[in-house]
Amino acid sequence: MKIKKKIPLIDQVSKLGFWGGKFGGNYVPETLKKPIEDLEILFNKLKNDKRFIAERDKYFKNWVGSPTRFIKLENLTNHVGGAQIWSKVVSDANGGAHKIYNATVHCLLAKRSGKKFIIGDTGAGYAGKMLSMAAKKFGLKCKIFMGAKDISRQQPNVKAMKKNGAEVIPVYSGSQTLVDAVSECMRFWVANCDTTAMCVGSTVGPAVFVRICGWSTSQISRELKVQFIDEFGSVPKKLKLYNCVGGGSSSFGFWNEFMDYDKKQCEFIGVEAGGPAKSKKHAAPLTYGSKIGILHGAAQYVNQDSDGQIEETESISAGLDYPGISPLHCFLKDTKRARYTAASDEEALSAYKTVIKFEQLRPSLEPSHAFSVAIKEAKKLSKDTIVVVNSCGDAYKDREILEKRLGKKYVKSN
């Protein structure tokens, strides 16, 4: 298994949609074969269409707000005392997280295909919030599927979706989290694929959804590359890119432009959700050696029992609380291009406390996982090493959890 150079990773798929011959694919009901094929044809055409790219860039610039900031965390760097710690503040994007890129592109595709309705899944509520924003912007009717457990723990985003005119459909089956929301969303698509476009909220699902999402979030690393050149004159010689990994959309987008660099120069570190320190449950299939299985249309490493039933996950972070992982990351792991590790709930909370103590930055619980590992490792690294953490979400949505776990003084209202 090998990564090819000079070909975008999203295009390194076989005819049947597999990366490395075994990750991804299209394990879908027959009814979805045609709509997926239609979407593939449309996407393959438009991703090379200059006018479509110009349209995308126009909305990314004027509506999403690009580029998002690339800043040095001076105080944190001094406190840690090792490598220079920087952050790509993707939470600057309209709506407060990277999910806006994928949502925007899916709405543009839906418009091109003449669909009037769009549906999507959501865990932390960001994918849903952004899809509701984009749907409103582009005049599409929108339904968001969300696990009942997530609805109760991510209220600020639920309110935002409703305000944008989307219908939020609670999912009560199974663990009532993201995994069930994706299943329910796919079921709805099975029944309504003739009139409705589906947006999968991360780099998961049937191959074309993995590719569209990866293509969209890659905006993050495109911007970062330019910012490196502005700041350092070139891509740093010793570079480490830390990102949390749930489904894997922000991390893939954060790394994509640097894929062809030698990993000795530019290392990718993915941080999964290890769950509560005392619990055996987690959402870290790559770190804890889960077996390959099929979930939501794609072969991937996934938490499951010996029979193949998908196992329940546990994490303080709704956005990382998913038993599977993008086929792209399975491929990056097996080719050893990226390194994966996990942070526990407690470690993420502690990292959040450290970051807000020293910086004007409030990463949500998802990137707090990445900060946890970055801070630990930066201590041992040389001063000329550039550590960059993707702060891909804002803690506003986590107010209630943070207040409960850490107390009022750690929550600022805005």
């Binding site: 049947l16 074969k33 045609k34 089956s173 079921r187 099975v190 309504n192 003739d194 099929i294 249309g297």
Partner: protein
Amino acid sequence: MLNPISLAFKKAKQENRAALLTYTVAGDSSKKQSLDILKSISKNADILEVGVPHNTPVADGSQIQTSAYRAIKNGIKMDDIFKIVKNFKKSNKNKPIILMGYFNMIFQYGENNFLKKCNSSGVNGLIVVDLPWPENRVFAKKCKKKSIYFIQLLSPTTTKVRLKKIIKDSHPMNYFISMLNTTGGKLKVTPKDILKNYFKIKKIDPKKEIVIGFGITEKTIGKLKSADGLVVGSAICKEISKSLKHRQNPVTNVSKLVKKLKSKIL
């Protein structure tokens, strides 16, 4: 020897009627009860589809989900399902059994192991909801070698070109999904339109048996009886849920329902 599935269609044709296929979830609501249900309904059903419950079913509606979650909660495992089939076959050697489920269960068991176990327990056919053509070509060939029918699904969204290719590759039985929906949804199209679609597909290779499923109930089954076979699933799962809720015996109630279904297609 002819696969018992083909024999069942032949028998139904001799009686000048559609074959009745039932779908129940293995282990719903317990291992023993699901076996009792199979035994009891086999008097009126021609082919028994046994659902392999899975906890992320992307094509099943709420009734079958409820049955599947109930079975999983009660601890059903893949090996128990094979045992149920084996026990059933002890007293009903010639009644065809089709396992229906999602590919991950087969993938984890190992394709070859799974098929070996199908043979030894008496499974005659397989429906794998999320392993469409052409992804299923290799596995379908393996099934053929073991004399197990791999049943292809055909949907209203399947294009003409694709229909022809799938049917050309298919084994003697195929399954037509009546409409765009998950299992158990309300019929969104009239039985007349479903049959119109159905006979168009049937014409591609009239020798192959095609059954219709999804959304078929006591009310609609009679209007579709000109098909080779008709599958009722969600309505049966619903009956089990209803019986449990009213503290009635699901075995008796489901048997009554299947008898009624049969009477509508005679």
